[in-house]
């Protein structure tokens, strides 16, 4: 299968630290790719570089063959690459429901003239989006909190909201940064189910996660990162069998 997204020799330094050190890897179309590795390996930095939030010092990012290196964030999102944040960043004055309504792309009501003169049109869109938002809220168990300001959610709830927000952006590739951290075990299963369903619909995933069960359940392939480089790539079983991975990442065999 042709790679959906290719990362070639990507480097990003912060002071003396090379968060990404000519990293090369790819994310396949229609698959779930796991990105795992020790703390500080550069996983989040990679996601930042892929979504326009960190400008790489060198190297290339190719999306379906197009060079998208260093494109600003909103254009990357426009190309269908969306992400969730590891340290949750909620839109604090929006309600949970509104947070989800903001997400869908191409809203007519988001332009000045559209908002003023196209009320009928954007209202129709809004209804449609509301339906999708509601369904998703129900799945992640936040429906009852729909009209709460999102800043008042618990840590895990914010995580779920963050993922739901990303899902509503009708992405092609969705990059999740530790979706399972802080989420209760039953809802983690729900995440697994959700990812599988969406994958069946043709979405591609890149998932950063430390919960090995979750990774094992959903990932077709994994890349193990360490010190800004790809250490091992392969299936979950292959990767976790590698002694280097065991010592650097898993510790005593899990």
């Amino acid at each position: 299968m042709s790679p959906f997204l290719q990362v070639c020799g990507l480097t990003r330094r912060y002071g003396g630290v090379a968060a990404l050190d000519s990293l090369t890897l790819d994310i396949a179309r229609g698959q779930v790719t796991g990105l795992i590795g020790p703390n500080g390996a550069g996983k989040t930095t990679l996601l930042n570089a892929l979504t326009g939030l960190a400008r790489p010092d060198s190297g290339k990012v190719l999306l379906e063959g197009d060079d998208v290196t260093g494109l600003p964030a909103h254009l990357m999102a426009g190309k269908g690459v969306v992400r969730s944040f590891q340290i949750v960043r909620e839109l604090s004055s929006l309600t949970v429901f509104e947070t989800l309504l903001v997400a869908p792309p191409g809203q007519r009501g988001e332009t000045l003239l559209g908002a003023l003169f196209g009320r009928r049109k954007w209202w129709a869109q809004e209804r449609e989006n509301a339906g999708a938002a509601r369904a998703l809220l129900e799945r992640v168990g936040l429906l009852k909190l729909a009209d709460q300001p999102s800043s008042l959610l618990s840590g895990g709830q914010k995580k779920l909201l963050e993922m739901a927000r990303a899902l509503l952006m009708r992405p092609k590739l969705i990059l999740l940064d530790e979706p399972g951290a802080g989420v209760s075990p039953p809802l983690r299963l729900e995440i697994v189910r959700l990812v599988r369903e969406l994958k069946a619909e043709g979405l591609s995933f890149g998932i950063v996660e430390h919960d090995m069960h979750l990774v094992e359940e959903v990932c077709d392939r994994v890349h193990v990162l360490a010190q800004g480089r790809a250490l091992v790539s392969g299936t979950f079983a292959e990767a976790t069998a590698d002694p280097r991975v065991v010592s650097a990442y898993l510790g005593v065999a899990a």
Binding site: G37, Q86, L153, G155, E178, H210, G251
Partner: protein, 247 residues
């Protein structure tokens, strides 16, 4: 229900605790709980059930509406968060648990500077704590806000340990940590307990928590719905625990 605990036998004794935010309803709805000294208790429960709110109330960050909190025989219910430190309480929050605009070294210094009369750990123990997370020692002048998610967790945990507490409250210490570090953190918790500290731990990583806890309490909708030894819980059906009928 259990008879009201005798505070003197317990490191941490909570009775009839009610708490909530602003003008909203109670989030913590009447919790009676007591913990033996030098034990580890894990609090688990669904998202939004009030686990963080519970330990924030213990730390004094959420106003107590009713009930009392006693730490090592001292009633701290009316104290401000800063004064609770003197009673030997240390707390690691779930989010925003480090000072992002201070350097790593400053974060560590601050951990022991304002203990209000208590002494922090000795130099030997200090070195032990820092050995636990070698990454923290490598770039002391880095701003903590630029650390990776896992590195932040390490820093936060280290800071709490340096305060040499009697009772340690941990909110999801393993979130975001790699499996190896989770293992090491959990070992560290066990060692801390052996050094005489009482640990109350909120975890979503149930497996890791069960691995070290003596007892587990399940919190659902602001109430303790179950309390059992870790061994018993290992057999139980989690989904059942979280969403209704006790096992």
């Amino acid at each position: 229900m259990t008879p009201p605990p005798d505070p003197r036998d317990h490191a941490l004794a909570v009775s009839g605790l009610r708490a909530g935010y602003g003008r909203g309803g109670d989030i913590v709805c009447g919790i009676d709980f007591a913990q033996k000294p030098e034990s580890i208790v894990a609090v688990i429960g669904p998202n939004g059930s009030g686990k963080s709110s519970f330990i924030k109330t213990l730390a004094g960050l959420v106003p107590t509406r009713a009930g009392s909190v006693v730490v090592t025989g001292r009633d701290i219910t009316a104290l401000s968060p800063a004064r609770r430190v003197a009673a030997g309480l240390a707390y690691v929050p779930q989010e925003a648990n480090i000072f992002a605009t201070l350097t790593i070294a400053e974060n560590l210094k601050l951990a022991t500077e304002f203990l209000r009369g208590r002494a922090g750990v000795g130099p030997e123990q200090r070195a032990r704590v820092l050995d636990l997370f070698p990454e923290l020692g490598q770039r002391p002048r880095t701003l903590a806000g630029n650390l990776s998610g896992g590195q932040r967790q390490m820093l936060a945990f280290a800071c709490a340990l340096l305060a040499n507490p009697e009772v340690l409250l941990l909110d999801e210490p393993s979130a975001g940590l790699s499996p190896r570090i989770v293992g090491e953190t959990m070992e560290a918790v066990v060692r801390v307990r052996e050094a005489g500290v009482t640990v109350l731990l909120v975890e979503q990583n149930v497996a890791a928590a069960l691995g070290i806890a003596d007892e587990v309490v399940v919190l659902v909708a602001g109430r303790l719905s179950l309390r059992a030894s870790a061994a018993d819980i290992r057999q139980a059906d989690l989904a059942g625990l979280f969403f209704g009928k006790a096992a």
